[in-house]
Amino acid sequence: MALIGKITGGAVAAMLAAALLGGSSSSSDRTVEITIHHSRFLPASLEVAPGTTVRFVLRNTDPIDHEFIMGDEQVQARHEKGTEAHHGAKPGEVSVPAGGTASTTYTFSKPGTVLIGCHLPGHYAYGMRGSVLVG
Protein backbone atom coordinates (compact mmCIF):
# COMPACT_ATOMS: atom_id res chain seq x y z
CA MET A 1 0.00 0.00 0.00
CA ALA A 2 2.83 2.35 0.88
CA LEU A 3 4.59 1.47 -2.40
CA ILE A 4 1.40 2.14 -4.39
CA GLY A 5 1.03 5.44 -2.58
CA LYS A 6 4.58 6.43 -3.46
CA ILE A 7 4.09 5.48 -7.12
CA THR A 8 0.81 7.34 -7.31
CA GLY A 9 2.24 10.36 -5.56
CA GLY A 10 5.21 10.38 -7.88
CA ALA A 11 2.95 10.20 -10.91
CA VAL A 12 0.85 13.07 -9.64
CA ALA A 13 3.96 15.14 -8.96
CA ALA A 14 5.21 14.46 -12.46
CA MET A 15 1.90 15.48 -13.96
CA LEU A 16 1.89 18.69 -11.94
CA ALA A 17 5.39 19.51 -13.03
CA ALA A 18 4.46 18.93 -16.64
CA ALA A 19 1.44 21.20 -16.32
CA LEU A 20 3.48 23.97 -14.73
CA LEU A 21 6.02 23.75 -17.48
CA GLY A 22 3.29 24.22 -20.06
CA GLY A 23 3.49 20.83 -21.59
CA SER A 24 7.01 21.31 -22.81
CA SER A 25 8.73 18.65 -24.78
CA SER A 26 11.49 16.63 -23.33
CA SER A 27 14.08 18.93 -25.05
CA SER A 28 12.70 22.31 -23.86
CA ASP A 29 11.69 23.82 -20.56
CA ARG A 30 8.99 26.02 -22.00
CA THR A 31 6.88 26.48 -25.11
CA VAL A 32 6.03 29.95 -26.35
CA GLU A 33 3.53 30.56 -29.11
CA ILE A 34 4.13 33.62 -31.27
CA THR A 35 1.61 34.86 -33.80
CA ILE A 36 2.79 36.72 -36.87
CA HIS A 37 0.16 39.20 -38.03
CA HIS A 38 0.54 42.16 -40.40
CA SER A 39 4.30 41.53 -40.40
CA ARG A 40 4.62 41.84 -36.62
CA PHE A 41 5.58 39.33 -33.92
CA LEU A 42 2.93 39.00 -31.23
CA PRO A 43 4.25 39.08 -28.55
CA ALA A 44 7.33 40.96 -29.62
CA SER A 45 9.11 40.68 -26.28
CA LEU A 46 9.33 38.24 -23.42
CA GLU A 47 11.51 37.34 -20.47
CA VAL A 48 13.20 34.07 -19.63
CA ALA A 49 15.61 32.89 -16.99
CA PRO A 50 19.21 32.07 -17.91
CA GLY A 51 19.66 28.45 -18.81
CA THR A 52 16.10 28.12 -20.14
CA THR A 53 15.45 26.22 -23.33
CA VAL A 54 12.37 27.52 -25.11
CA ARG A 55 10.49 25.96 -27.97
CA PHE A 56 9.00 28.71 -30.11
CA VAL A 57 5.91 27.86 -32.13
CA LEU A 58 5.34 30.43 -34.86
CA ARG A 59 1.91 30.84 -36.43
CA ASN A 60 1.88 33.01 -39.55
CA THR A 61 -1.52 34.56 -40.30
CA ASP A 62 -0.20 36.70 -43.19
CA PRO A 63 -0.46 35.76 -46.86
CA ILE A 64 3.30 36.29 -47.21
CA ASP A 65 6.30 34.32 -45.97
CA HIS A 66 8.25 35.37 -42.92
CA GLU A 67 11.19 34.13 -40.87
CA PHE A 68 12.14 34.04 -37.22
CA ILE A 69 15.81 34.66 -36.54
CA MET A 70 17.23 34.83 -33.02
CA GLY A 71 20.61 36.21 -32.10
CA ASP A 72 22.61 39.28 -31.27
CA GLU A 73 23.10 42.31 -33.48
CA GLN A 74 25.81 40.54 -35.42
CA VAL A 75 23.49 37.67 -36.24
CA GLN A 76 20.74 40.04 -37.28
CA ALA A 77 23.08 42.05 -39.47
CA ARG A 78 24.40 38.90 -41.12
CA HIS A 79 20.92 37.74 -41.99
CA GLU A 80 19.90 41.19 -43.19
CA LYS A 81 22.66 41.03 -45.76
CA GLY A 82 22.40 37.32 -46.40
CA THR A 83 20.65 35.52 -49.20
CA GLU A 84 19.58 32.28 -47.58
CA ALA A 85 16.17 31.45 -48.94
CA HIS A 86 15.18 29.07 -46.20
CA HIS A 87 15.97 28.54 -42.55
CA GLY A 88 15.32 25.64 -40.21
CA ALA A 89 18.47 23.66 -39.70
CA LYS A 90 19.92 25.90 -37.02
CA PRO A 91 18.32 26.41 -33.56
CA GLY A 92 16.62 29.78 -33.29
CA GLU A 93 16.32 30.22 -37.06
CA VAL A 94 13.25 29.13 -38.98
CA SER A 95 11.28 30.12 -42.06
CA VAL A 96 7.53 30.45 -41.55
CA PRO A 97 5.48 30.03 -44.73
CA ALA A 98 2.45 32.16 -45.52
CA GLY A 99 -0.51 30.91 -43.52
CA GLY A 100 1.63 28.21 -41.97
CA THR A 101 3.25 27.15 -38.72
CA ALA A 102 6.84 26.39 -37.82
CA SER A 103 8.84 25.84 -34.66
CA THR A 104 12.37 26.18 -33.41
CA THR A 105 14.14 25.70 -30.12
CA TYR A 106 16.62 28.05 -28.51
CA THR A 107 18.60 27.87 -25.28
CA PHE A 108 19.21 31.15 -23.48
CA SER A 109 22.48 30.32 -21.78
CA LYS A 110 23.51 33.68 -20.29
CA PRO A 111 21.90 36.95 -19.13
CA GLY A 112 21.36 39.71 -21.66
CA THR A 113 19.10 40.51 -24.59
CA VAL A 114 18.57 38.26 -27.55
CA LEU A 115 17.13 39.95 -30.61
CA ILE A 116 14.47 38.53 -32.90
CA GLY A 117 13.98 39.55 -36.51
CA CYS A 118 12.62 38.71 -39.92
CA HIS A 119 15.11 39.53 -42.65
CA LEU A 120 13.12 38.99 -45.78
CA PRO A 121 13.63 42.18 -47.83
CA GLY A 122 12.15 45.18 -46.10
CA HIS A 123 10.63 43.27 -43.20
CA TYR A 124 13.14 44.21 -40.50
CA ALA A 125 13.10 47.87 -41.47
CA TYR A 126 9.30 47.74 -41.51
CA GLY A 127 9.42 46.78 -37.83
CA MET A 128 9.33 43.02 -37.82
CA ARG A 129 11.54 42.53 -34.82
CA GLY A 130 11.46 41.70 -31.13
CA SER A 131 13.62 40.74 -28.19
CA VAL A 132 14.00 38.31 -25.34
CA LEU A 133 15.29 39.57 -22.01
CA VAL A 134 17.36 36.92 -20.31
CA GLY A 135 17.85 37.61 -16.69
Binding site: H38, S39, P63, I64, A98, L120, G122, Y126, M128
Partner: protein, 340 residues
Protein backbone atom coordinates in the same frame (compact mmCIF):
# COMPACT_ATOMS: atom_id res chain seq x y z
CA UNK B 1 -30.81 50.67 -54.42
CA UNK B 2 -30.39 52.65 -57.54
CA UNK B 3 -27.31 51.49 -59.27
CA UNK B 4 -25.06 54.32 -60.14
CA UNK B 5 -22.03 54.14 -62.18
CA UNK B 6 -19.06 56.28 -61.65
CA UNK B 7 -16.78 57.13 -64.41
CA UNK B 8 -13.34 57.26 -63.15
CA UNK B 9 -10.37 57.79 -65.27
CA UNK B 10 -7.14 57.20 -63.62
CA UNK B 11 -3.98 58.78 -64.61
CA UNK B 12 -1.02 57.31 -66.19
CA UNK B 13 1.10 54.77 -64.52
CA UNK B 14 4.39 53.72 -65.84
CA UNK B 15 5.71 50.54 -64.47
CA UNK B 16 9.40 50.38 -64.19
CA UNK B 17 10.52 46.83 -64.49
CA UNK B 18 13.89 46.73 -62.86
CA UNK B 19 16.59 44.15 -63.14
CA UNK B 20 16.95 44.12 -59.36
CA UNK B 21 15.84 41.15 -57.25
CA UNK B 22 12.14 40.76 -56.90
CA UNK B 23 12.16 42.05 -53.32
CA UNK B 24 14.28 45.13 -53.94
CA UNK B 25 11.55 47.70 -54.04
CA UNK B 26 8.67 46.02 -52.33
CA UNK B 27 5.13 46.42 -53.53
CA UNK B 28 3.69 44.21 -56.16
CA UNK B 29 6.16 42.60 -58.39
CA UNK B 30 6.17 40.14 -61.18
CA UNK B 31 8.26 37.09 -61.51
CA UNK B 32 11.29 38.91 -62.77
CA UNK B 33 11.33 42.40 -61.42
CA UNK B 34 9.80 45.22 -59.52
CA UNK B 35 6.88 47.40 -60.37
CA UNK B 36 7.02 50.97 -59.24
CA UNK B 37 4.79 53.95 -59.82
CA UNK B 38 6.13 57.47 -59.47
CA UNK B 39 2.99 59.53 -59.90
CA UNK B 40 -0.56 58.74 -60.87
CA UNK B 41 -3.39 60.74 -62.39
CA UNK B 42 -6.99 59.87 -61.70
CA UNK B 43 -10.28 60.95 -63.21
CA UNK B 44 -13.58 60.05 -61.60
CA UNK B 45 -16.65 60.95 -63.62
CA UNK B 46 -20.05 60.38 -62.09
CA UNK B 47 -23.16 61.16 -64.05
CA UNK B 48 -26.74 60.00 -63.94
CA UNK B 49 -25.87 56.93 -61.97
CA UNK B 50 -23.07 55.80 -64.26
CA UNK B 51 -19.51 55.36 -63.12
CA UNK B 52 -16.54 54.76 -65.41
CA UNK B 53 -12.89 54.21 -64.60
CA UNK B 54 -10.27 54.95 -67.18
CA UNK B 55 -6.73 53.96 -66.43
CA UNK B 56 -3.69 53.01 -68.40
CA UNK B 57 -0.43 51.19 -67.95
CA UNK B 58 2.90 51.96 -69.44
CA UNK B 59 6.14 50.31 -68.62
CA UNK B 60 9.82 50.58 -69.06
CA UNK B 61 12.32 47.82 -68.69
CA UNK B 62 12.64 44.28 -69.74
CA UNK B 63 11.86 40.92 -68.36
CA UNK B 64 8.79 38.86 -67.84
CA UNK B 65 5.45 39.68 -66.41
CA UNK B 66 4.68 42.10 -63.61
CA UNK B 67 1.48 43.58 -62.26
CA UNK B 68 -0.54 45.34 -59.64
CA UNK B 69 -3.41 44.63 -57.32
CA UNK B 70 -5.84 47.37 -56.47
CA UNK B 71 -8.92 47.40 -54.27
CA UNK B 72 -12.31 47.86 -55.90
CA UNK B 73 -15.53 49.13 -54.35
CA UNK B 74 -17.58 46.58 -56.18
CA UNK B 75 -17.86 44.11 -58.99
CA UNK B 76 -17.37 45.84 -62.33
CA UNK B 77 -19.93 45.29 -65.08
CA UNK B 78 -17.49 45.98 -67.87
CA UNK B 79 -13.74 46.05 -68.37
CA UNK B 80 -12.54 47.22 -71.78
CA UNK B 81 -9.94 49.24 -73.53
CA UNK B 82 -10.47 52.94 -73.04
CA UNK B 83 -9.76 55.93 -75.17
CA UNK B 84 -6.22 57.00 -75.72
CA UNK B 85 -5.96 60.54 -74.48
CA UNK B 86 -8.65 61.33 -71.89
CA UNK B 87 -6.26 61.59 -68.96
CA UNK B 88 -3.75 63.58 -70.89
CA UNK B 89 -6.46 66.04 -71.93
CA UNK B 90 -7.37 66.48 -68.28
CA UNK B 91 -3.78 67.02 -67.30
CA UNK B 92 -3.52 69.63 -70.00
CA UNK B 93 -6.63 71.32 -68.58
CA UNK B 94 -4.89 72.03 -65.30
CA UNK B 95 -1.27 72.23 -66.30
CA UNK B 96 0.98 72.08 -69.36
CA UNK B 97 1.41 68.54 -70.62
CA UNK B 98 4.58 66.96 -69.44
CA UNK B 99 6.10 63.64 -70.14
CA UNK B 100 5.64 61.77 -66.95
CA UNK B 101 6.72 58.42 -65.76
CA UNK B 102 5.16 56.92 -62.74
CA UNK B 103 6.16 54.20 -60.45
CA UNK B 104 3.39 52.22 -58.97
CA UNK B 105 3.38 50.22 -55.88
CA UNK B 106 0.21 48.74 -55.27
CA UNK B 107 -0.18 46.59 -53.78
CA UNK B 108 -1.59 42.15 -52.07
CA UNK B 109 -8.52 35.38 -43.82
CA UNK B 110 -10.95 34.04 -44.85
CA UNK B 111 -10.74 31.20 -47.41
CA UNK B 112 -9.74 31.49 -51.04
CA UNK B 113 -10.24 34.46 -53.26
CA UNK B 114 -12.95 34.04 -55.86
CA UNK B 115 -12.19 35.01 -59.42
CA UNK B 116 -15.25 36.83 -60.74
CA UNK B 117 -13.97 38.37 -63.95
CA UNK B 118 -11.04 37.82 -66.26
CA UNK B 119 -10.20 39.73 -69.38
CA UNK B 120 -7.29 40.88 -71.50
CA UNK B 121 -6.66 44.37 -72.76
CA UNK B 122 -3.73 44.46 -75.14
CA UNK B 123 -0.77 43.31 -73.03
CA UNK B 124 -2.69 43.46 -69.76
CA UNK B 125 -4.22 40.43 -68.05
CA UNK B 126 -6.95 41.69 -65.75
CA UNK B 127 -8.52 39.62 -62.99
CA UNK B 128 -11.22 40.84 -60.65
CA UNK B 129 -11.17 38.98 -57.34
CA UNK B 130 -13.44 38.78 -54.37
CA UNK B 131 -12.15 37.86 -50.97
CA UNK B 132 -10.60 39.06 -47.75
CA UNK B 133 -7.20 40.65 -47.55
CA UNK B 134 -5.40 37.42 -46.74
CA UNK B 135 -7.22 35.48 -49.46
CA UNK B 136 -6.40 38.07 -52.10
CA UNK B 137 -2.84 38.27 -50.88
CA UNK B 138 -2.53 34.51 -51.13
CA UNK B 139 -3.91 34.58 -54.68
CA UNK B 140 -1.47 37.31 -55.59
CA UNK B 141 1.48 35.43 -54.20
CA UNK B 142 0.45 32.18 -55.89
CA UNK B 143 0.10 34.02 -59.19
CA UNK B 144 3.54 35.55 -59.22
CA UNK B 145 2.93 38.88 -57.52
CA UNK B 146 5.44 39.96 -54.90
CA UNK B 147 4.00 41.55 -51.77
CA UNK B 148 5.76 44.02 -49.51
CA UNK B 149 5.64 43.62 -45.70
CA UNK B 150 2.92 46.26 -45.40
CA UNK B 151 0.71 44.45 -47.92
CA UNK B 152 -1.15 42.24 -45.39
CA UNK B 153 -2.25 45.25 -43.38
CA UNK B 154 -3.11 47.37 -46.41
CA UNK B 155 -5.10 44.57 -48.04
CA UNK B 156 -7.03 44.07 -44.80
CA UNK B 157 -7.57 47.85 -44.60
CA UNK B 158 -9.36 47.79 -47.94
CA UNK B 159 -11.00 44.40 -47.57
CA UNK B 160 -12.77 45.67 -44.46
CA UNK B 161 -14.68 48.05 -46.74
CA UNK B 162 -14.91 46.01 -49.89
CA UNK B 163 -13.87 42.44 -50.70
CA UNK B 164 -13.32 43.24 -54.38
CA UNK B 165 -9.86 43.70 -55.87
CA UNK B 166 -8.52 43.97 -59.38
CA UNK B 167 -5.24 42.34 -60.29
CA UNK B 168 -3.53 43.62 -63.41
CA UNK B 169 -0.63 41.73 -64.82
CA UNK B 170 1.48 43.42 -67.45
CA UNK B 171 3.21 41.04 -69.80
CA UNK B 172 6.24 42.72 -71.29
CA UNK B 173 6.84 39.88 -73.72
CA UNK B 174 3.30 40.13 -75.06
CA UNK B 175 3.70 43.87 -75.27
CA UNK B 176 6.70 43.37 -77.51
CA UNK B 177 4.74 40.95 -79.66
CA UNK B 178 2.01 43.54 -80.01
CA UNK B 179 4.50 46.21 -80.94
CA UNK B 180 4.02 48.28 -77.81
CA UNK B 181 7.02 50.45 -77.12
CA UNK B 182 8.54 51.39 -73.81
CA UNK B 183 6.53 54.20 -72.22
CA UNK B 184 3.51 53.49 -74.41
CA UNK B 185 0.31 53.18 -72.42
CA UNK B 186 -2.68 50.88 -72.56
CA UNK B 187 -5.76 52.62 -71.14
CA UNK B 188 -8.46 50.54 -69.47
CA UNK B 189 -11.99 51.57 -68.67
CA UNK B 190 -14.01 49.87 -65.96
CA UNK B 191 -17.68 50.38 -65.18
CA UNK B 192 -18.75 49.78 -61.62
CA UNK B 193 -22.10 50.34 -59.92
CA UNK B 194 -21.70 52.59 -56.90
CA UNK B 195 -23.48 55.11 -54.72
CA UNK B 196 -20.74 57.67 -54.55
CA UNK B 197 -17.29 58.22 -55.95
CA UNK B 198 -14.32 57.10 -53.88
CA UNK B 199 -10.63 57.24 -54.67
CA UNK B 200 -8.20 54.90 -52.88
CA UNK B 201 -5.07 56.85 -52.06
CA UNK B 202 -3.43 54.90 -49.25
CA UNK B 203 -2.62 52.07 -51.61
CA UNK B 204 -0.27 54.40 -53.44
CA UNK B 205 2.02 54.15 -50.41
CA UNK B 206 2.17 50.38 -50.58
CA UNK B 207 5.72 49.15 -50.34
CA UNK B 208 7.18 52.58 -49.74
CA UNK B 209 9.23 53.72 -46.79
CA UNK B 210 7.59 56.29 -44.55
CA UNK B 211 9.62 59.21 -45.88
CA UNK B 212 9.20 58.35 -49.54
CA UNK B 213 7.09 60.83 -51.52
CA UNK B 214 3.71 59.91 -52.93
CA UNK B 215 2.29 62.10 -55.66
CA UNK B 216 -0.88 61.84 -57.67
CA UNK B 217 -3.30 63.93 -59.70
CA UNK B 218 -6.95 63.21 -58.98
CA UNK B 219 -9.65 64.51 -61.32
CA UNK B 220 -13.35 64.31 -60.50
CA UNK B 221 -16.20 64.96 -62.90
CA UNK B 222 -19.54 65.04 -61.12
CA UNK B 223 -23.01 66.35 -61.82
CA UNK B 224 -22.61 69.02 -59.15
CA UNK B 225 -19.94 70.38 -56.85
CA UNK B 226 -18.95 67.42 -54.62
CA UNK B 227 -18.22 67.36 -50.92
CA UNK B 228 -14.80 65.84 -50.21
CA UNK B 229 -13.12 64.17 -47.26
CA UNK B 230 -10.56 64.40 -45.81
CA UNK B 231 -9.07 67.86 -45.73
CA UNK B 232 -5.63 66.46 -45.16
CA UNK B 233 -2.17 67.91 -45.27
CA UNK B 234 -0.67 66.89 -48.57
CA UNK B 235 -3.97 66.79 -50.43
CA UNK B 236 -4.63 70.02 -52.30
CA UNK B 237 -7.83 71.01 -54.07
CA UNK B 238 -6.28 73.02 -56.88
CA UNK B 239 -9.36 73.47 -59.00
CA UNK B 240 -13.07 73.29 -58.35
CA UNK B 241 -15.17 74.73 -61.15
CA UNK B 242 -17.71 73.84 -63.81
CA UNK B 243 -16.17 71.72 -66.53
CA UNK B 244 -15.99 73.72 -69.74
CA UNK B 245 -18.02 72.56 -72.73
CA UNK B 246 -14.79 72.42 -74.72
CA UNK B 247 -13.24 70.02 -72.19
CA UNK B 248 -16.32 67.81 -72.18
CA UNK B 249 -16.48 67.91 -75.96
CA UNK B 250 -12.83 66.89 -76.21
CA UNK B 251 -13.27 64.06 -73.70
CA UNK B 252 -16.42 62.81 -75.40
CA UNK B 253 -14.61 62.53 -78.70
CA UNK B 254 -12.20 59.97 -77.23
CA UNK B 255 -12.99 56.30 -77.72
CA UNK B 256 -15.78 54.93 -75.51
CA UNK B 257 -16.33 58.31 -73.85
CA UNK B 258 -19.64 59.17 -75.51
CA UNK B 259 -21.45 58.53 -72.24
CA UNK B 260 -20.05 61.83 -70.96
CA UNK B 261 -22.51 64.73 -71.01
CA UNK B 262 -21.73 67.74 -73.17
CA UNK B 263 -22.39 70.16 -70.32
CA UNK B 264 -23.37 70.50 -66.70
CA UNK B 265 -20.51 68.69 -65.03
CA UNK B 266 -18.27 69.91 -62.26
CA UNK B 267 -14.49 69.44 -62.50
CA UNK B 268 -12.48 68.97 -59.33
CA UNK B 269 -8.72 68.59 -59.53
CA UNK B 270 -6.86 67.43 -56.43
CA UNK B 271 -3.14 67.14 -56.16
CA UNK B 272 -1.68 64.61 -53.74
CA UNK B 273 1.82 65.48 -52.61
CA UNK B 274 2.76 63.81 -49.37
CA UNK B 275 4.88 61.05 -47.88
CA UNK B 276 3.99 57.39 -47.57
CA UNK B 277 3.98 57.56 -43.78
CA UNK B 278 1.42 60.36 -43.80
CA UNK B 279 -0.89 58.73 -46.34
CA UNK B 280 -3.32 56.74 -44.23
CA UNK B 281 -6.50 57.90 -45.90
CA UNK B 282 -8.52 57.67 -49.06
CA UNK B 283 -10.63 60.30 -50.83
CA UNK B 284 -14.31 60.10 -50.00
CA UNK B 285 -16.71 61.98 -52.27
CA UNK B 286 -20.35 62.87 -51.83
CA UNK B 287 -21.63 63.75 -55.30
CA UNK B 288 -25.27 63.75 -54.24
CA UNK B 289 -25.32 67.33 -53.05
CA UNK B 290 -25.99 66.31 -49.44
CA UNK B 291 -22.52 67.34 -48.32
CA UNK B 292 -21.85 64.14 -46.34
CA UNK B 293 -18.79 62.30 -47.59
CA UNK B 294 -18.29 59.07 -45.69
CA UNK B 295 -15.61 58.83 -43.02
CA UNK B 296 -15.55 55.10 -43.67
CA UNK B 297 -14.85 55.69 -47.35
CA UNK B 298 -12.06 58.05 -46.34
CA UNK B 299 -10.56 55.33 -44.15
CA UNK B 300 -10.95 57.54 -41.10
CA UNK B 301 -13.23 55.11 -39.30
CA UNK B 302 -13.92 51.45 -39.73
CA UNK B 303 -17.09 49.64 -40.59
CA UNK B 304 -18.86 47.95 -37.70
CA UNK B 305 -20.13 45.18 -39.91
CA UNK B 306 -17.97 42.98 -42.08
CA UNK B 307 -17.96 43.31 -45.85
CA UNK B 308 -19.65 43.16 -48.30
CA UNK B 309 -20.42 46.83 -48.70
CA UNK B 310 -23.47 48.23 -50.44
CA UNK B 311 -23.03 47.71 -54.13
CA UNK B 312 -22.76 51.38 -54.86
CA UNK B 313 -19.84 51.98 -52.58
CA UNK B 314 -18.21 48.84 -53.80
CA UNK B 315 -18.49 50.04 -57.34
CA UNK B 316 -16.79 53.26 -56.54
CA UNK B 317 -13.89 51.51 -54.97
CA UNK B 318 -13.51 49.39 -58.04
CA UNK B 319 -13.40 52.43 -60.22
CA UNK B 320 -10.83 54.07 -58.06
CA UNK B 321 -8.73 51.01 -58.17
CA UNK B 322 -8.64 51.03 -61.90
CA UNK B 323 -7.31 54.51 -61.74
CA UNK B 324 -4.02 53.09 -60.78
CA UNK B 325 -3.67 51.51 -64.14
CA UNK B 326 -3.69 54.59 -66.25
CA UNK B 327 -0.88 55.12 -68.61
CA UNK B 328 0.02 57.78 -71.02
CA UNK B 329 0.02 56.56 -74.56
CA UNK B 330 2.35 57.86 -77.08
CA UNK B 331 -0.65 58.31 -79.31
CA UNK B 332 -2.30 60.32 -76.58
CA UNK B 333 0.61 62.71 -76.49
CA UNK B 334 0.29 63.19 -80.21
CA UNK B 335 -3.36 64.11 -79.87
CA UNK B 336 -2.66 66.43 -76.97
CA UNK B 337 -0.06 68.19 -79.00
CA UNK B 338 -2.63 68.64 -81.75
CA UNK B 339 -4.68 70.74 -79.36
CA UNK B 340 -1.88 73.14 -78.66
Amino acid sequence: MRRRKLVLSLGTFSFLLLAAPAWACGGLVGANGTLSLGKTATLAAYHDGVEHYITGFSFAGSGGAFGSIVPLPGVPTKVEKAGDWTLQRLLQEVQPPVAESFALRALAADGSAQVILETKVDSLDITVLKGGGAAVGTWARENGFGLSPDAPEVLDFYAARSPVFMAVRFNAERAKTQGLELGQATPVQVEIPTDNPWVPLRILALGKKEIEPVQADVFLLTDRRPALLPEAKGLFLDRSAPASPLLLQDLRSDSRMDWLPTSGMWLSYLRLDTTAGALGYDLAVDASGNGNPSEVDAGLSSLELPAPLPSGRVAWMAVVTLAILAVTAVATERRVNAWR
